[in-house]
Structure formats: C-alpha cells, structure tokens
Symmetry: C2
Subunit: 462 residues, 2 copies
C-alpha cells in the first residue's frame, strides 16, 4: 500500500488493482442510508476520484455530513468500472478526516458567476474552470520557455523598476520610498526626487524590449518573459494594469524571420498543450467555448497569411460592414477591424505588415517607401492583436532622427544609440501579451479570469 | 553554401568541411603584412571562430583596420586544425563589413574591472565573463522550470503590485499614480490614498508565498518564479533591491518533504548545467573561481546534512573562532556563522532546522516543544543561506494566535485564514533567491554581476 495521487491512478489505468491510499479534499458528497459517494480531488488532476462508502463503516453517518472541502484520507480497494462514466472507483475500507472545513464554504455545488468568483480569487482555483485555466497558463508558460530554449534563445530578466520613460507605450506607475505625507522639496518647491531611493524618479516598466536588445547584440537570440505594467484607467475585458509579456529579440534577423519565429512559437505552444493539457482543453471546450479546440487545431494546421496594411485598409473600406470607426490609410486599426479581417475575411490568424510609420514606435525600421515601417502584428480570431513585431532601425543616423522626430530625449537613449554605434546589426523582435495568449488557448473572454490575482483600476486585493 | 552559426560549427566538428558563411562581430584582430586573424563571435556560443585573411584579398588593408565590434560577413573554407588551440579555422575568401563600429569602443582588449563594466551594463554581456554568467542564468532558470514541471508543479504568477504589507519581510516600495507635486488630501490633511490608482495604498511584493499557498490548496504542488523587491538601504555584495525568487509550495507535505524537494531541485539545476553549460562553467572555473566545478560536483554528489539549530548553536559556541557577533540560543545566525558551519564544520551544504519561533515568520508551524518552529534553511559554502523553507501552520487557531502574537492585522489576513478554515491541510514550501543561486553556480561574488541591469540604492540606470 503506497500513498498515491489521483493523477497516478488515471495515468496507470491498465494497472489499476489492489489497495490504495489517497489524501484530498471533498468536492461533492451524496449519500443514501446504505451507500454514499464522495468526489475526491487531491490537486494532482482536474479529474476527481470517486470514493464509495457504505453504512458498514463505523463513521458512515459522520462522513455523510462532512462539509465540502474537508480534507480526508481514504484507504480502499481500486475497482475498474469500464462501463461507468469514470474508469474506476475506490471502495473505501476506511475514511479519516484529517483537516476541517465549514458548512459556509463559498463554493457550494452550484454555478457561480465569474464576477462572484473574482471576489474569492484565493478559492476560485478550486473550481474546475479555473483549475483548467491556470493549469493551461502554467503549461503554456513552460512551453514558451522550452520552445525558445530549444531554438537557442537566452532568457534575460530585464528590470522591472526603471528610470526610463515609456517610449509612448502608455501611462506608468511611479515607484517611490518617499513618505508622501512628508515629501522633501527642492529650491523650487517641487518634490526633490534626488532624495528618493534611486536618487531619481523611477517607474514600473512597460516593456523589456530596449534593455533586452543589448543582449541580442551579445547572445544573438534572446527573450524576456516577465511582468509589465500600464497605469491606464481602462476597464475593458482585454486590459489589465499588470500583465506578463514575452519579448523575443534576434540579431541578424529581419521581418520575415520575426513572422516565422512568432508563428512557430504560437504553434509550438498549441502543440505542447495538445500533448499535455488534453483534459483541461476538453473541459473548456465543453463548458466555456465550444469552438476552442477547432480554433486551436486550425491555428496549428494553417499557414498564417501575410497581408500588408495598405491591402487591409482596402479590404476594410470595401467591406459590407458599418464599422464604428471608419478606416482610412494612416489610421490605427481598432479591435473591430482586426477581428473582421481575421474572423470574416481570412478565417485564420494573419500577419498585418508595413504599417504607416506615424502610428508605430520610434524604434521600427523605416521602409524604403518613406511612409511605412517594417512592422508585423499577428491578429487572431476572438482576440484581435496577439503579437506585435518589427524589424528594428539599426542605422545610427536614421534612429537618431526618429528619436528626434518622436520628441524623445537623445540623452536618455544614448545607451540605446550606442548599441548601433558599436556593432550595428540587422535585428528584429516581437512581443506577446501572455494573458492574451492564455485567453486564446483557453477560450476565456475576460483577462481578469486568466490572471491569478488580477490588478485593474481600483483592484489590488490579496 | 548555407548561413551557419559558430555554434553549429563547434557542434558538428566531425563534419567540418566545405564553404561556410558566417555573420558576426569582430572580437579581436591581429595582422601582419601578409596575413591576419579575426576572432569572430556571432552570439551563438562563448567560443569564437578564427578567421584567417591574407593580403591577397582586395580589401585586406581596410579589414586590418576594422574597429572592434564591427559586424562582418565572412565566406570561407573550413579547415580542421586538430593541433592548434581551436579545432578549426576559416580561411576567408571574402569578408564584407555589414555594420559599423567605432574606434572608441569601450571594450578594448584588456582587463576591465567589474566596477567599470557595471557602468556599461548594456555592453558587458559582450565580454566572455558576462556571456558565461548570463548564459548560465538563463539555463538555470530553465532548469528550475523543467525540474518543477517534471515533478508536477504548477507555475503561478503571483501579483507584483500588492495591497498587503510585508509580513515583516522588509521595507517596501510604494506604487502610485498620484502626482507627487499635487497630492490630494483627506479631511485630516493626509494623502488621500482612496484617490490613488487602486483606491488604496499599494506596494511592490516582497514574496509570492502567501498568494501562492491558495493555489497549493487547489493544485497540490505549485511554484512562483518572479521578481520581488526590498527597499532596504543595504549596500552589501549580496543584496539587491530587485531580485527574482522561486517559491515552491506543496500541499500534503511536511518539513522532510521540503528538504527532499529543495535538495533535489538544487541538484537538478547543477546536473542540467553540467549537461548544457560545460564551456561556460569551464571558463568561469579558469578565470573567476578555481573551486567552482569541484564545489558543484560535491554539491551534486553529497547528501546534505540536517542539523538542528540547537546543535548548530552548540557547535558555534565550541568553535575556536572569534565571531564578530557572539552566538547564543535564540539569536539569528549571521553570514559568518552560516559560512563557518557549512565551510569549516560540514564542508558541504547543510539544512539547519527547527529555529526559535521568535526569529522566524508567523506562518511557520509551531513544533511541539513550544519553543521552535518547523523551519529549514539551506546553507551553502561561499554564499551562506541559499534556501529558506518551512512547514506552514495549518491549524486555524494556532495561526490566528500567531497573527495576533506578531502584531499583524487579522482582518488583512482573513483570506489567508480562510485557506485553513476551508480545507485545512498539511502544507510546506520554500524560497530560493534566484540571484544567490546564480552566484553559487557561477562563482561570481557580487550580486550586481549576476543581474542584467542591477537595481540597488541610488541605481536604476538603463
């Protein structure tokens, strides 16, 4: 007799025999006078083990009254049940309560709204849906690391606290140790930032791209995978104030390489999930999004189309649809446009390339037409933009000019310019919002439901 | 003829033949009238490729004057050189400069101090030492993920921005979007935190342990691996303001399980590095720490000792050493004591267990003696404390009492107490300071030299 997990039992269904001992939590109980059934979950798998108890057990009465989520130890005989819904059950010979719970346990057996479950973020991973979501989140994160390490990418932890500004990427959070009720002031009566912890004003990072570029010029292929922050007062289902980004960066690479690597990475993650998250994907496909597995299979099978921005604008202008925001060449596309292109026109993920330079970041490489930059965004059904990539402007003078044109401080970007000054190299990279990716591979439609403890305006609980 | 990397050539030494094309950066050049040698690095490996050029090339003169770190494309014949220092060289037929550099390139061929290199953090990964260190950092991070995923641990991204206090773990950084020069005040003239972004005061996390414990009670085995922060004005070689922590947490586990898992994880990482970082370890062993590989081999081979705190105090009191801080039962051990035990007494990593409860955190489980808690810290040579672990207090009343005894707010820890109220379960976990681990496996003695862009008091550059 050995201590086993429920996962062990499901993994070795062909060897199901003998006495087992399990410890786990009561998920459900139903009982009659003579026989009772406990669904036992021990955290090792989404699936429960069915425990059968009978009134011959001395503590049967007591067991039937166990509160949900009580911790019990079960000793019993494994019996294969090939004709039942579950492949086996455990006919208990002894069940001992080893940990308490309470009858006011919030996760009673009924349907709870996602909104309610967000208020008990410390308990919601015990539900099937959130178990599946956060298991997939974990597996997807590992798949990203494995794919990139297998392709000779070096992982770099770029800083979270930064003295840089955001390159126009969005509002930032300030980080300080000054006592806000007793701020030190300078001669002009302004806050004396030189007395702060870092002797200057610091913020939370919005992107690790620029700092990781320095490492691409040493390691060739590099990536970041860490938290980033936006202090925008945005209350949509796709925005969080704190989220994780994956930012691969490649020296000696151009926009074509970016698209190939981004497509390979996304497909690699999906393939890994098909191999390692079958029960979770099946559960979500049944209960959350009936098109999930088909959509992922399609993503895996199809070659992603490459569509220039200019052509996309033509398609959108010719579309028999009244968009809320009309499209003309030079405007940034909205989620409604992105989703129309990928869902209605191409029915698959597409790369939109060569955007007008005015609507993209300063570090993107100018195309020869003088109007566009070598950018490529991946648009996917349900989500819209999932990946944003570009070839970087590696030519010193052009980069210097763009820093000026964008009204940025050349002094602040001196170190970034030096990357070009010493070893100017063709270079390209992309960024994936990890939570968007998790939404795509789980079918969840609100970003708050794919983050363990989401941070949004007004909400930093737990 | 195909575009290859230097790593490809070293990986397939037995197939070295024919024409190759490489693109990379000039690391060194030396030349005479008729022949010249370029050490080419393309980021794919620590090792360079030796390029031989001759005065028969039309642009020979020009090439001999290339500044260091210029980007060149080389076409040439591969020639095995079994008797030379390097296993092959490339006899160039054409070399083209594809990217510029400058003669004031800061990394000229001479020894630079670590202090100087920290001021050019964007360029130092191009040196051999930092290439080796940051490559090992990347491989070690991946080894951690792989080991834990292989052992059925679920990765959880606990929040960076938190409204919790630090449980006494240290000073915190405040996160705000308030305009510090125009702060909103409340009735009492104090800063009105309800007008801040999250409608309350928020800080950067010091640990993901408490939030991840909630997930251990759903997934059984979980871990965090993310940045944590300490706003301490500490200027030692072992402390940074921003560093990454690995925090595994296991339901149904006790202190023995913690020690077994921590020992297995550390050995797993070292074994992975022996398999995947041979050149980097050999370089660091030769140039940075001549005992590095022996120490890691010993760590891999030996069973770590388990030593109760009480016995350690006896050993230290009997030691023929004048410690700066004298030891008596009940005092926290200092680095000098930790290193004496592991370096002079045991000559290997040791777990110190069962510390006095007053010097450990509130969440650690009380031992039956009424004086100590079920804690285990791993001490290693050169570093001191590398891992801190404990069995968690899972008994509701005892935990409630400890929250009171430590002067913490029961209201703030209500959700944490609920983890015990609903599904009280034996549980244990540990934390590893990732930078300490990287120091241990690289032999680097200053934490600033194992972090891409270190953050310390007064320093948040790049």
């Amino acid at each position: 007799m050995t201590q086993q997990t429920v996962k062990d039992l499901y993994t070795h269904l062909d060897q199901l025999t003998g006495t087992v001992e399990l410890t786990g939590w009561v998920r459900t109980i139903r009982s009659s006078k003579r026989v009772g059934f406990i669904e036992l979950n021990d955290g090792s798998s989404l699936a429960n083990a069915q425990i059968v108890m009978t009134s011959e057990m001395a503590n049967y009465e007591e067991l039937t009254k166990l509160p949900l989520s009580a911790t019990i130890q079960v000793v019993g005989e494994l019996v294969a049940t090939p004709k039942a819904q579950q492949p086996f059950e455990i006919q208990a010979t002894a069940i001992t309560q080893v940990g308490g719970s309470d009858n006011d346990y919030p996760l009673q057996k009924k349907k709870h709204s996602y909104e309610y479950l967000r208020t008990i973020a410390h308990l919601r991973p015990r539900t099937n849906t959130f178990y599946a979501v956060f298991k997939i989140r974990s597996l997807a994160a590992f798949a990203v690391h494995q794919y990139l390490q297998d392709h000779d990418f070096t992982y770099v932890n770029t800083p979270i606290i930064t003295s840089s500004d955001s390159e126009g990427a969005g509002e930032m959070f300030q980080v300080t140790t000054l006592d806000m009720n007793h701020l030190p002031l300078d001669d002009q009566g302004q806050v004396d930032e030189s007395q702060d912890f870092f002797k200057e004003k610091t913020n939370l990072t919005v992107s690790g791209q620029l700092p990781v570029e320095a490492f691409a010029l040493a390691f060739r292929n590099v990536y970041t995978f860490g938290p980033t922050f936006r202090a925008e007062n945005s209350h949509t289902s796709r925005h969080a104030s704190e989220f994780w980004m994956i930012e691969p960066e490649m020296a000696f690479a151009d926009l074509t390489d970016v698209m190939a690597m981004a497509e390979g990475l996304l497909k690699g993650v999906i393939a890994y999930l098909f191999d390692h998250a079958q029960p979770e994907l099946a559960f979500l496909n049944e209960h959350v999004d009936p098109e999930l597995i088909d959509r992922l299979q399609l993503t895996l099978d199809e070659d992603f189309a490459r569509v220039p921005y200019t052509k996309a604008v033509e398609l959108l202008q010719a579309a028999p649809v009244d968009f809320k925001v009309p499209v003309e060449w030079g405007t940034d596309l909205q989620a409604e446009h992105e989703r129309y292109l990928t869902e209605e026109v191409y029915h698959q993920p597409i790369f939109l390339t060569d955007y007008p330079k005015e609507i993209k970041a300063f570090y993107m490489r100018n195309n020869d037409d003088g109007k566009t930059v070598a950018a490529a965004d991946l648009l996917v059904p349900q989500i819209g933009e999932l990946i944003g990539g570009s070839q970087r402007e590696e030519r010193f003078e052009q980069l210097q000019q763009k820093i000026k044109d964008f009204g940025l401080s050349e002094e602040e970007y001196q170190w970034y310019l030096e990357l070009r000054k010493y070893g100017e190299t063709k270079e390209a990279g992309f960024g994936i919002g990890f939570e968007r990716l998790v939404m795509y591979v789980t079918g969840m439609s609100n970003i708050r439901d794919v983050i363990p403890y989401p941070r949004t305006p007004g909400n930093a609980e737990f």
